[in-house]
């Protein structure tokens, strides 16, 4: 009985510490979202069946994007000053044939309210007929950064995933180009390039079954865009190979239809849909996750989870803390030579109440020091729903655990802890997981400045605000839940 109580308390504590992963907010309901495009300060994604979502900040999404042609699983890419949208239209399905058509069309803007908003007539770039080994739907686009050539993968479980080359100036199929089979066992594929490798992302598993959908996204890579795409075990994706990028987790199932969004060097996001978000009635929703690179393979990171953490610098491994007197714990050292037959008693941790009266009442400076799990080193991080967000996350407040003492940016680009969180923008923090798995911590604003600065280590023991540099551990932090 006692054991059950302890387990229950542990579970509660764990929940308090780690919080829950938060999905996109608004009405982010979509299936097969195209790669997210940024256009005139707004974000856009299109889905199966026509239409799509718009977001002002990348966190709150609602309907309103417009795409003609209906059909399935579109993708989008910006080439020059125009957007190329590709989608599949089909009369096929379980009981039908497999006549599919891949169409492309251009638009100068994705904003339906813009006077320039007008899609060009669709151009057919690939097709499938009858019962051939392909469904020409579910296209994905890649503009090869090495040579500017444009590629389109497409297909479903019915036969092969194929790749064709398009003309990046016209969106038409390159004359004489022949489709090449590059994979099986996939739907809703996409392509990307990184450090000399081409990556083919495919959706595997069971689609369209809500909470029971086993959809997941797998990847293989190749030195040539036309394949072969090989997984981490040396298996060709044309024999079913694929390494997991993202599967179900938390309260969402069935991630599918990968899209990559590079915010800047070291900060990447991946979009997908989740077949069912159990917290949103089991509806299919837009998902945005950090995209990490581990040993040359892409893998989805986790959206930041609310909780109480040590904020550890990647530079030295020291922890962000208030500049307050270090309050020693009672010296309970066991004397050498002392008999070891005394009963062992746990020593309580130092608590906030033990030390808070020793702290100044006003602003307190912040430094970085040896982590000793003391109250001045424990930060509780929670989302501030009314503060909006950024691509993939809400703004957070960062306060000393058990208090409202909040981390804040100052006008001279330093950091302090103010006695009370007020919701001021310099007290709101953007937290992005970086491509190497560490985190970037960035104030929403630096007072009297338009510069985008992040929390950095200027010395082992000194934090400040400075420009983000992915090549330096000064710009990186870890959140440790002890």
């Amino acid at each position: 009985m006692e054991k059950i109580k302890i387990l229950g308390a542990t579970a509660l504590l764990t929940t308090v510490l780690t919080g829950t992963a938060i999905a996109q907010v608004g009405k982010p309901f979509i299936h097969d979202p195209s790669t997210i495009m940024e256009c005139d300060g707004k974000y856009y994604t299109f889905g199966t069946g026509g239409g799509g979502l718009i977001s002002e900040d990348g966190w709150t999404w609602n309907g309103g994007a417009e795409r003609p042609g209906r059909g399935a699983a579109p993708d989008a890419i910006k080439i020059g000053d125009r957007y190329l949208v590709v989608y599949g239209s089909t009369g096929g399905g379980l009981g039908g044939g497999h006549d599919g058509i891949i169409n492309t069309m251009w638009n100068k803007t994705l904003d339906p309210k813009s006077p320039d908003f007008k899609f060009s007539d669709p151009i057919v770039v690939a097709s499938s007929e009858n019962m051939e080994d392909c469904d020409a739907i579910d296209p994905g686009l890649l503009l090869d950064p090495t040579d500017g050539r444009l590629w389109c993968s497409y297909g479903t479980y019915f036969g092969f995933i194929r790749i064709v080359e398009l003309d990046p100036k016209t969106g038409k199929r390159v004359e004489g180009n022949k489709a090449i089979d590059i994979a099986i066992d996939c739907e809703a594929t996409d392509l990307m390039y990184q450090d000399g490798w081409y990556y083919l992302l495919g959706t595997h598993g069971t689609c369209c079954d809500g909470a029971n959908s086993t959809y997941n996204i797998v990847v293989g890579r190749s030195k040539k865009v036309t394949g072969p795409y090989i997984d981490n075990m040396g298996r060709d994706m044309i024999k079913g190979g694929g390494k997991m990028v993202i599967a179900a987790g938390g309260r969402v199932t069935g991630p599918g239809h990968f899209g990559r969004f590079v915010v800047e060097n070291g900060v990447e996001k991946m979009s997908c849909h989740f077949e069912a978000d159990l917290d949103q009635g089991g509806r299919s929703v837009l998902g945005i996750r950090p995209l990490l690179w581990k040993n040359g393979w892409p893998v989805a990171g986790d959206n930041f989870k609310e909780g109480t953490y040590e904020i550890e610098s990647e530079r030295r491994g020291y922890a962000l803390e208030l500049i307050v007197d270090f309050v020693r714990m009672p010296n309970l050292r066991h004397r050498f030579g002392q008999a070891d037959d005394e009963p062992i008693k746990p020593v309580p941790s130092q608590e906030l109440a033990d030390v808070i009266d020793t702290w100044p009442k006003g602003d307190i400076g912040v430094r970085i020091g040896d982590y000793m799990f003391r109250p001045h080193q424990k930060w509780t991080i929670t989302a501030v729903p009314e503060a909006g967000g950024y691509l993939g996350g809400p703004y957070f407040k960062i306060v000393i655990a058990g208090t409202e003492r909040a981390l804040a940016a100052t006008a001279d680009a330093e950091v302090i802890a103010v006695p009370q969180f007020t919701g001021a923008p310099e007290q709101l923090w953007r937290i992005d997981q970086l491509t190497d798995g560490t985190y970037r911590i960035m104030p929403k604003v630096v007072p009297n400045s338009k510069e985008k600065l992040v929390l950095v280590s200027s010395g082992d023991s000194t934090p400040t605000l400075a420009k983000f540099d992915m090549s330096s551990d000064n710009s990186k932090w870890n959140f440790k839940a002890h």
Binding site: G96, D181, I184, D209
Partner: protein
């Protein structure tokens, strides 16, 4: 139960509506161009299989067994593949569909009676590493969705081989036996991935070893691939494959 059936129906309806997912795969010889595969619309098995003409063959360069006796599909209607739980499959595969189902080593052209169906065995060599059951059924103008396929082959071993493993990928679910003993069950709405499921350690006898498989599929493509792996995980190719 009603809820499950309804959700499956709705799921199927969604797929039909948007022309989304069908079931898995296939593979053609090498990487083909779309102008070549337009020929797939011809209703024949010739693009995927050849009749067995030689006494024996060896596994291919990756160890895949390409020679199989395939029974024309047994009707087993299923609207979707998500019903293929372990217990469903054990019941489906324990059901006796035809005489000597678990012991028969049929001859090419031999027929069996399954209810009102009279089904023939076909001794075939696959042109691909995998055996494309959808193309087998479709090419023979047989039912290709909502079916069970039976497959039999004979693996001849030059000497006893201990601690080998049978590696199987199948679309959709399947069960496999070696020398009359269950070796593998691949459950769920499954797509064919090479080396997806691997048996516990087995012993290949010197001489004949009979491999038997049953593959069930609702809608979409269906196929399987089988090879044996040694203790290091390397494919075993020092075998001959026959239909007798």
């Amino acid at each position: 139960m009603k809820i499950n059936q309804k959700s499956l129906f709705l799921a199927a309806g969604f797929v039909v509506l948007f022309g989304l997912g069908l079931q898995a795969q296939p593979d053609a010889p090498g990487r083909q161009m779309d102008y070549e595969t337009k020929g797939d619309t011809t209703r024949s098995i010739a693009a995927y299989f050849t009749p067995v003409s030689s006494k024996k063959v060896t596994p291919d360069s990756e160890g895949f067994i390409r020679r199989w006796l395939l029974l024309e599909p047994i009707s087993k209607p299923n609207r979707g593949n998500t019903v293929f739980t372990d217990s469903y499959l054990r019941q489906a595969f324990d059901t006796l569909y035809f005489a000597n189902q678990f012991t028969i080593l049929p001859k090419d052209g031999e027929k069996v009676k399954v209810g009102e169906q009279e089904l023939a065995w076909h001794a075939l060599d696959s042109k691909n590493f995998n055996t494309k059951l959808f193309r087998f059924a479709y090419g023979l103008r047989k039912p290709h969705y909502g079916v069970i396929f039976w497959a039999v082959t004979v693996v001849n071993c030059p000497q006893e081989m201990k601690n080998v493993r049978m590696a199987v990928g199948s679309n959709s679910a399947s069960m496999w036996w070696m020398n009359g003993k269950e070796a593998l069950l691949l459950s769920g709405d499954r797509r064919m991935v090479m080396d997806d499921c691997v048996s516990n350690r087995l012993t290949l006898n010197k001489g004949k070893n009979i491999i038997r498989g049953a593959i069930i599929n609702g809608p979409g493509m269906s196929d399987f691939c089988v090879r044996f792996l040694d203790e290091t995980g390397a494919p075993i190719k020092d075998l001959t494959i026959t239909c007798e």
